[in-house]
């Protein structure tokens, strides 16, 4: 089967980074553009496989809808310990996050 070369552009890399909430330095953009293209090229090998009428596999245990009783149970984690893990200031027992709109 014909293999096509996947080459990402710098603009594509910057767009993906934005979707992933990452800021890349210009050096990182160069490096990622090259490396991601080489990884994507390697992955192209999957196009050799005929998957017509093959169902996708998302899990292998066969367990579906693992239900449990909807009961309130005390958590091992204490609210103050959870708050204590945040790097942000705590105000009135809540994490004070930066404003969404500057």
């Amino acid at each position: 089967m014909l293999r096509t070369m996947t080459t990402l552009t710098k603009d594509q890399v910057l767009h993906i980074a934005k979707l992933a909430r990452l800021t890349l330095t210009p050096e990182e953009v160069d490096k990622m553009t090259k490396e991601l293209s080489s990884i994507l090229n390697y992955i192209e090998i999957l196009n050799e496989v005929d998957t017509t009428s093959v169902e996708p596999t998302a899990q292998v245990t066969g367990i579906t809808n693992a239900l449990r009783e909807d009961a309130v149970k005390p958590s091992e984690a204490k609210p103050d310990d959870l708050l204590g893990a945040s790097p942000l200031p705590i105000t009135e027992h809540q994490i004070q996050a930066p404003h969404a709109h500057g």
């Binding site: 990622m32 999957l46 245990t61």
Partner: protein
Amino acid sequence: MHTDNMLSSLTISQAHEKLKKREITSVELTQSCIDRIESIDKKLNAVVHRNFDRALEEAKKVDDSAEWNSALTGIPYLAKDVYCEAGVKTTGCSNMLRSKDYIPPYDSTTTKRLSAAGAISIGKTNTDEFTMGGSTETSCYGVTRNPWDTNRVAGGSSGGSAAGIASDEALFALGTDTGGSIRQPASFCGIAGIRPTYGRTSRYGVMSMASSLDTIGPICKTVEDLAIVLEAIAGHDPMDGTTSDRPVPKYSGALKKDLKGVRVGLPKEYFIEGLNSDTEHAIREAAKILASLGATVTEMSLPHTKYALATYYVLCPCEVSSNMARYDGIRYGHGVSKPKDLLDYYQRARSEGFGTEVKRRIMIGTYALSAGYYDAYYLKAQKVRTLICEDFTNAFKNFDLIISPVAPSPAFKVGAHVNDPVAMYLEDVFMDGAVMAGIPALSVPCGISKEGLPIGLQMMGPQWGEAGLLSAAYAYEQATEWHTKKPAL
């Protein structure tokens, strides 16, 4: 310097006998591990967080109660730095969690079960950042060195756990295996490690990498010890909906099985160009030993083998990009000061907190899952996964066990692959088939290369087939002496 009479060099079963007979105490045993870590770990960098005071207190309690109900009571162990333990620093070897040392407010199910059995947690081991890597070189604490040759990697991602056990820093360690992260470091360090069936052990409280592939398992000095730890940690957990409720066999009680009539498959696709000649020789010799023990060894085929690695490197980064979204610097982890707005905060916290390999996988996964590419990558990979699963389902109709190399060659030099991600990924090539099929697979020592490096034999069994897998590995181990070899540190 290695002393054979050092208590930390005991296996779990040996130590248990001595504890029961009051020949030694858990405090002495724990102290021996602490001494060993303090004397040699600067050469290895296997242990990244030390909980020695707490461990000695726990050991004292165990000694005082003097009840040895479990083979793990009073046994000191190390856990990979992704297992949450309440009040104990756990950082995933990532600057994301290191910058404000993360102290989990709860325990993973696995460490909780070990504590309930009386095992003593003494520290956290080095890993690639959030388990992403095959050499521990992506750890924010630096690489773990191989006790057999400190110019070489210990493997990864559970490299700290493997190096720690190979050098007798504890009696056993916990690792995680998503794409080979227990088996490869175990093989590189000359010890035993098992990736159980997906769903056999609980992932609750262990930092996730790729949730449909992550498994929890032990790294030990012997196969018997693997059985002892696995039976203590396996089983249904209401906190992990992917765990099975099928009963857990007492693996350690069923090890002594005859191999007569056991059908062993040798998949031809695993003996490819590029396979190290010492490794190939060691695996073929292992096949002969299994045959001499009564097994029938036949060459067979797993036709989709060559696609398992590419399938892995689609599915894994996709799940990584989703799992890593939790690290936003809000609830835990690395924070930044004076952000322009929330978006700026997220971007800076993540860019500063994550290392290169994590960013690389997030980027690949984000791309593969983004609009217009889902069918071409993720869906395609899931369909190929089906074909890989069918290979194994068909194979296990005719075989009880499949054997192969764990890795294409013994431990590589530190820095050998750092600038070539695809070369690093190729190290996983023999391990990803079992990952895709969710079947159990283990590594046992089966040789030493001309350069003096350990070689691992991979044994794969059918889904939920740990008992048969462990008993076959035990028979092989008892017939050989590779597991008794120790590095001269």
